[in-house]
């Protein structure tokens, strides 16, 4: 696998190890089916991007994987002793709670000053240790959230829209940082994003979600996949597509797929 080449320097037992898998996973909330028939496997040392339009169930899927919400069908398996670092999508700290960055980071694990200084260097904001959390910018706070996830020494990082509310350069920086972390720590990373362009460079594998997994594979392959094109429109695909398919292929309201022909598009998956 080409994934492994870039991570040869990290301990091998982590890389390539299966961390999490889901089989025929189905989640309903308030009687509404949100996810169905989800199969996935996530490995150590691999960056997987979960993309999909708003309401596709991206956050629901990672909540189910993390065990934060119950699921009604299928199963989720985690490697024994798996430590997950989670970075939630939105976290607003009420200014009525006085909190320094240092104090905020100490909440996730019993860690000392040195570890906190070190992890802040790792996410490139060492100067923020004594800053009040309420004074941080969006980009700074995202890095602090990432640092908090890292302090647990995770085997698996789950990042829900880590680069939102950050400008373009900030997004690029964040994805570069995530890639560095994967290389240095050898952990698996699952990144949620609504924008395939943003995740392109750093991602090994893309899962495109819309209630079910529409398609998956290398970013270039997914961007050319008809289901991806159907979800995001041809223009989203054009800028990065390697192939152009024009199969007729539509989604109905319940998230089901009407395939124009019975032929699958496996040739586009590139693995």
């Amino acid at each position: 696998m080409s994934v492994l080449r870039s991570v040869m320097s990290v301990p091998l037992e982590k890389v390539g190890q299966r961390l999490v898998s889901a089989e025929r996973l189905g989640v309903s909330q308030n009687g509404r089916r949100i996810l169905s028939g989800i199969d996935l496997e996530l490995f150590g040392g691999e960056i997987v991007s979960l993309i999909g339009p708003n309401g596709a169930g991206k956050t629901t899927l990672i909540r189910a994987i993390l065990g934060l919400i119950p699921y009604q069908a299928g199963r989720v398996d985690k490697a024994p002793g798996l430590v997950i670092g989670y970075m939630p999508q939105r976290l607003e700290i009420d200014p009525v709670l006085p909190l320094t960055v240092h104090r905020f980071l100490r909440m996730s694990a019993n860690v000392g000053k040195d570890e906190i200084s070190e992890v802040l260097r790792e996410v490139s904001v060492p100067q923020l240790r004594e800053a009040q959390v309420e004074t941080l910018s969006g980009g700074e706070f995202q890095r602090i959230l990432l640092a908090r996830a890292l302090l647990r020494n995770p085997d698996f990082l789950v990042l829900d829209e880590p680069a939102q509310q950050v400008d373009f350069q900030g997004q690029i920086d964040m994805f570069e940082l995530i890639e560095q972390l994967r290389t240095r720590r050898g952990c698996g990373v699952l990144v949620v994003s609504h924008d395939l362009h943003m995740v392109m460079s750093a991602t090994d594998r893309v899962l495109c979600l819309n209630g079910h997994i529409c398609c998956s594979g290398a970013p270039e392959a997914v961007s050319a996949h008809p289901e991806y094109v159907a979800l995001f429109g041809p223009r989203a695909a054009d800028s990065i597509a390697l192939y152009h398919h024009n199969h007729r292929h539509e989604h109905d309201l319940s998230g089901g797929v009407h395939q124009a022909g019975s032929k699958r598009h496996d040739h586009a998956l590139g693995n």
Binding site: Y86, I93, V96, P98, L99, S108, L128
Partner: protein, 275 residues
């Protein structure tokens, strides 16, 4: 020079301020001011329970408060009404039930004013024992729960992902408020308990840099309010409970002045570097 009753009032009031400081901070952080107020209203049902079953009023109030918390949690799980709606239904329901029940005990000559506004000057040795033993227990539980409680206050889901038993901790917290209300009632009365939880914590906010500092400052503000209020009430012959709340209000306003002054001298740290 000072009478025994005044010393008892002072010691009791300070004891309540010690509990109310840290707990009040969490009430403010978790936006649960309404819960404290509602439990206090419901305490009158506890007094009625005490009369009916001839048990200690404090125990009656603790029992009714726990029942209210349990009902609230059950109804919240139904997800049909917002919490503030449920709280009004439960609290005013319990208050009215209590008032109706108490009216059957005309002969007892229950002085409702004492319970509504407190009578700190009638604090007896038994009350002091309640305040200090109950208070020590409450503070011990808060100390144990401090970290998970803070974690769920910042972000429930993140805390859950990090292994905190969220519902257990939040139920424990509500029970702590219930017991505190029962203990503090004698000092400021049903109508003013919430202010003793919230005003000192609010006063502490502007001067604190960390949650722990805020809790310590809230204790200090509470003690200041109790001492100031009691001496004021002695000096000007005013009702003690409301005097304490007025003093707390003064401390709150003072914290603005001090906070603004500190800001003038030493502007708050604002990191310049954007990564």
């Amino acid at each position: 020079m000072l009478d025994d009753f005044f010393w008892r009032a002072l010691i009791g009031g300070i004891g309540v301020a010690l509990i109310a400081g840290p707990l009040g901070c969490f009430v403010v952080w978790r936006r649960m001011a309404y819960l404290g107020d509602s439990l206090a209203h419901g305490a009158l049902l506890g007094i009625a329970l005490g009369l009916v079953f001839d048990i200690d009023f404090t125990i009656g109030i603790i029992a009714s408060s726990i029942a209210l918390v349990a009902l609230l949690i059950l109804l919240q799980r139904q997800n049909r009404f917002a919490s503030d709606t449920l709280l009004v239904i439960l609290a005013h329901g319990a208050l009215s039930l209590g008032l109706v029940a108490v009216s059957f005990f005309e002969g007892q000559r229950l002085d409702l004013m004492v319970y509504l506004f407190g009578d700190i000057l009638a604090v007896g040795r038994g009350d002091l024992i309640w305040i200090y033993s109950g208070g020590a227990a409450i503070l011990a539980v808060i100390a144990c729960l401090w970290r998970p409680l803070l974690a769920i206050t910042v972000h429930e889901e993140l805390a859950r992902a990090e292994g905190v038993k969220v519902s257990l901790v939040s139920i424990a917290f509500m029970l702590l408020i219930a017991v505190t209300v029962a203990i503090a009632m004698k000092i400021v009365g049903i109508l003013l308990i919430a202010s003793l939880l919230i005003v000192p914590a609010a006063a502490a906010r502007r001067l604190a840099q960390t949650p722990e500092q805020m809790a310590a400052l809230a204790i200090f503000a509470g003690v200041l309010a109790v001492v100031g209020g009691l001496f004021g009430s002695l000096e000007w012959d005013t009702p003690s409970g409301p005097s304490i709340v007025v003093a707390a209000l003064a401390v709150f306003l003072l914290s603005f002045v001090v906070g603004a002054g500190r800001q003038l001298i030493r502007p708050r740290h604002r990191p310049i570097a954007e990564p």
